[in-house]
């Protein structure tokens, strides 16, 4: 596990895999970036693991990484973490579980099946996360920023 960031090199190989050359000059092909605290502190504490899942680099603060590497890391993280942010709840079918949801997200409108109120969780004091029947996750960063109707709908499940 490497702690210094100065000497690392990060690049994409021709196959689109992320390649890390660590301080000791070793090449790790196909590394993955993982956030340790994706919900509570997404911009710090990032781990880079090799293809076997063994950590090769631990980044406490992304700002301390070289600009080029940082860009690649942020891009890779964004690609790995697909979590639409719900802007508006358009419609929820029925009072009983499971319920069919139609929501407007930052990535467009989508529909999903919610198994029950166990799959709606509070995140922090005002946020919420929904997990649909296939395990996809949807984020509501701040309930207060939703319109009144959407907020009322969500609060039934919280």
């Amino acid at each position: 596990m490497e702690k210094t960031l100065g000497a690392i090199e990060l690049s994409h190989d021709p196959y689109g895999r992320l390649v890390l050359v660590d301080g000791g000059g070793r090449r790790h092909v196909g590394v993955e970036t993982i956030r340790a605290f994706p919900l509570s502190e997404p911009h710090r504490w990032i781990s880079i693991c090799n293809a076997e899942g063994v950590e090769v680099l631990w980044i406490e603060d992304l700002n301390s990484a070289p600009a080029a590497a940082r860009e690649l890391i942020v891009e890779d993280l964004a690609r790995r973490e697909f979590m639409p942010v719900i802007d508006k709840v358009i419609h929820v079918s029925g009072q009983s579980d499971p319920s069919q949801w139609e929501v407007q997200t930052d990535r467009g409108t989508t529909r999903f099946l919610l198994k029950g109120d166990d799959d709606v969780r509070r995140i922090g004091p005002r946020g919420a996360m929904l997990i649909d029947s296939s395990g996809m996750r949807y984020l509501v960063p701040d309930l207060r920023r939703l319109d009144a109707a959407s907020r009322r709908t969500l609060e039934r499940y919280l």
Binding site: I34, A36, F37, L39, S47, G53, E55, D118
Partner: protein
């Protein structure tokens, strides 16, 4: 330091003191409650500075004259010992030539018997004996269990009502106002009938019945009457009706305000009650939790407080309103006409009793129904968690039949209740009619007798019709009160319980702890069952001790005593030379890390779970602890890393993963003393190796007591302590013990043989 025990049993006091010689001092007494034939007979065994005396109750009762006293000089007594088996105890006096005498007692007196033996031994050794109360300064005595609570527990709720006294007073005033406003309308009908309607009616009748007057004249006279009487008529009618309407509106407004106020009060009282109960519950020792079912404790805090809340906000207010209404109505009736009032109210007690009686019958029915219902749900609670067993043994049909039978009992109980219930409401209506009839009959007679006017009769009828329906709701109150009293009793059972691990009276701060643990003459009994007896052990700071022994040898009890989950019955546990009972409990435990066999994760994120013992830990510290516990990598593989939700409803983790999180938890609080209670026994050998690495990081430099069934996990221990039946039987290194052919060698051989069998 001889002293007379202050509490010699009253019955024996005179007889016992009469036996004493001049200057003889009582050291201890014990009252066996059985005779040699195991019949209940109160006896007395007395220990003085020179003799052991004993007597049994005669037919005249304990302490009566004529009891035969036996005596032994203290020097002639070889030994005194107390043994219990199956709830029956024997105190034996052993002389040089065998058992000289014995006394039998029931389990309830076992502790007293052992205390007596200890005092005897102390006397023999010439040492003053210290009772719990006389224990070293600052150590609180072990508390007695609290006595049973009486049914008047509802009054004890006033402790929680006091902070809300103002709101309650406001609610009471509003209740009074509501009731008063409700009493006004019938009252206003009196002037309406007597001053307006009746006189007018009689004049109309007088005009109509004039003899010899023509129809036209009558019409004229009536028109004239309308003209002259009209304004007065309209004025009084408007006044009365206006008053009635105003009273109705006022009653509604007051009732509304009262409902809001009382609901606020009762919600707050119930919330205070819940907080207080929960806070107190968490202070109680593990001993208390061991004896209670989780569901029972949860329902005490949730449904029992809720029931009290409902009682306070609805039933109690209804009751007060009803009582006020009945008293107010009675007063008004008496004021109108005492004789008619007496006639009206005479059957009231009888009717009240009747309603109460039928209610009581119903109550029994409801209880029977409730029990049948509980039995039915028990079948469900039994079968559904055990569904694998049911299916594996193909017993579905039997379970269905069992449920069917339980359901039939529900049906039968409810049928019976419904019959009584169906009878009940029409009965109340009938009584209501009977009451009205009574008023009509007496009222008519009083009117005939020129005593009252029709208006008063109308008012009486209006008042009395409300009367009997109130009775029904008042009778409902009795059962509600009983239920609420039962609920508050269940809550006060928790609140009255004194923690059996008491806080010291003169606490010493345990900072900093080096980690030297000493157990001197430690004994612990659970009820009357001795678990640990006279155990001595000294553990150096940083030393790792492995506790080994068969199940029930007292290993877990020993660590529970070190953690102060329980307090010792005898002897003392000290850390760095200070009795642990002199440390504040929470302060002391902060220096102890515990890793249990089945680690418990709370609902929350992994980061929160690791930081459970130190919520203020930074993210660096949390990650560092997770790395040291070999948990970092698997945590990073979870979808939300350290933000993943675990615990009930959360991410499912394997036993080994949970264990490593609990190790990280212990690493983070950096304790001086570490307890590993079967930390590796619920995982497979492969995972055990990973956990062992994590544990090695944790153990380094800390005083560690580890319990393990798998002897291999204790390879690093500095010393192995082998326990058997509450006693240390062997001490030493693995190598020494294996060759000593003792308990350890036997356990070791058994495990080797098993590993060998499995390998084949």
């Amino acid at each position: 330091m001889p002293f007379i025990l202050p509490t010699l049993p009253d019955a024996w006091r005179r007889a016992a003191l009469a036996q004493l010689e001049a200057g003889e001092v009582i050291h201890a007494w014990f009252a066996p409650d059985l005779d040699a034939h195991l019949r209940y007979v109160e006896g007395l065994v007395l220990l003085t500075d020179r003799r052991l005396l004993s007597a049994e109750a005669t037919v005249d009762g304990p302490g009566a004259d004529g009891s035969t006293w036996r005596e032994w000089p203290v020097d002639a007594v070889g030994n005194l010992r107390a043994i219990e088996r199956n709830g029956l105890g024997t105190l034996e006096l052993l002389g040089g030539a065998g058992r000289e005498c014995f006394w039998r007692y029931t389990a309830a007196r076992a502790n007293a018997a052992h205390e007596f033996v200890r005092r005897f031994d102390a006397l023999r050794r010439g040492m003053p004996f210290k009772t719990a109360e006389e224990h070293e300064d600052g150590v609180a005595p072990a508390p007695e269990p609290s006595p049973a609570v009486s049914t008047r527990t509802l009054l004890r709720l006033s402790r929680f009502a006091r902070p809300r006294a103002r709101l309650i007073a406001l609610g009471f005033v509003l209740t009074l106002a509501t009731t008063a406003a409700g009493l006004i309308p019938p009252y206003l009908t009196v002037p309406l009938v007597d001053n307006v309607l009746t006189p007018y009616q009689s004049e109309v009748k007088a005009i109509k019945s004039q003899e010899g007057a023509s129809a036209q004249l009558k019409q004229q006279q009536l028109a004239k009457l309308k003209e002259t009487e009209g304004p007065r008529f309209a004025r009084i009618v408007a006044l009365c009706l206006g008053g009635i309407a105003a009273a109705a509106v006022a009653s509604w407004l007051f009732g509304w305000a009262q409902g809001v106020v009382m609901a606020r009060v009762s919600e707050r009282v119930a919330a205070d009650l819940r907080n207080a109960t929960y806070a107190h519950l968490l202070k109680l020792s593990l001993e208390f939790f061991g004896g209670k079912r989780t569901g029972d404790l949860i329902s005490r805090i949730s449904s029992d407080t809720d029931r009290i809340c409902n009682f306070l906000s609805d039933n109690l207010v209804d009751f007060i309103t009803d009582a006020l209404m009945i008293v107010g109505t009675a007063a008004i009736l008496v004021w109108f006409d005492p004789v008619l009032a007496a006639a009206t109210l005479l059957p009231f007690p009888l009717v009240a009793w009747l309603v109460y009686y039928v209610r009581g019958q119903l109550q029994h029915g409801f209880q029977r129904g409730g029990r049948a219902w509980a039995a039915m749900t028990n079948v469900l609670a039994d079968t559904i968690p055990g569904i694998r067993v049911v299916k594996a043994f193909a017993q579905e049909q039997r379970e269905v039949d069992r449920f069917h039978a339980a359901n039939d009992r529900v049906l039968e109980a409810n049928d019976r209740v419904n019959t009584v219930w169906a009878f009940f409401w029409p009965l109340v209506l009938l009584l209501n009619q009977a009451g009205l009839l009574m008023v009509w009959a007496f009222g008519a007679w009083r009117v005939y007798d020129f005593r009252i006017e029709a208006g008063v009769l109308v008012a009486f009828l209006l008042y009395i019709s409300r009367f009997y329906t109130r009775l029904e709701s008042m009778s409902r109150m009795f059962s509600m009160t009983q239920r609420a009293a039962a609920s508050s009793q269940r809550i006060f059972e928790i609140l009255d319980r004194v923690p059996s691990v008491p806080e010291p009276t003169q606490p010493i701060q345990p900072n900093p702890v080096r980690g030297k643990i000493e157990l001197t003459g430690v004994g612990f009994r659970y009820g009357n069952r001795p678990i640990i007896e006279n155990l001595n052990l000294s553990i150096e700071p940083g030393e790792m001790i492995g506790l080994v022994g068969p199940s029930g040898a007292g290993k877990s009890t020993l660590v529970n005593l070190v953690c102060r989950f329980y307090d010792v019955t005898e002897g003392a546990v000290s850390v760095d030379g200070v009795d642990v009972r002199r440390f504040p409990v929470a302060e002391y435990r902060r220096h102890i890390g515990v890793v249990l066999q089945d680690p418990f994760l709370f609902y929350g994120t992994i980061a929160e779970n690791i930081a459970y013992g130190r919520p203020e830990a930074t993210r660096e510290e949390i990650v560092a602890a997770a790395r040291a516990a070999r948990a970092h990598e698997f945590i990073m593989r979870l979808p939300d890393g350290y933000d993943s939700i675990v615990g009930e409803r959360g991410q499912t983790l394997s036993g080994g993963e949970r264990q490593r999180i609990s190790i990280a938890r212990a690493i983070l609080i950096d304790p001086r003393i570490l307890i590993l209670d079967e930390a590796t026994s619920s995982v497979d050998t492969e995972t055990e190796r990973e956990i062992q690495e994590a544990l090695d990081n944790l153990i380094r430099g800390r005083t560690t007591i580890a319990i393990a069934h798998r002897l291999s996990t204790l390879r690093q221990a500095d010393r192995l302590i082998v326990l058997d039946r509450g006693k240390i039987v062997e001490v030493g290194h693995h190598q020494e013990l294996v060759h000593s052919s003792g308990v350890y060698a036997r356990l070791h051989r058994a495990q080797l043989a098993m590993a060998h069998d499995m390998a084949e």
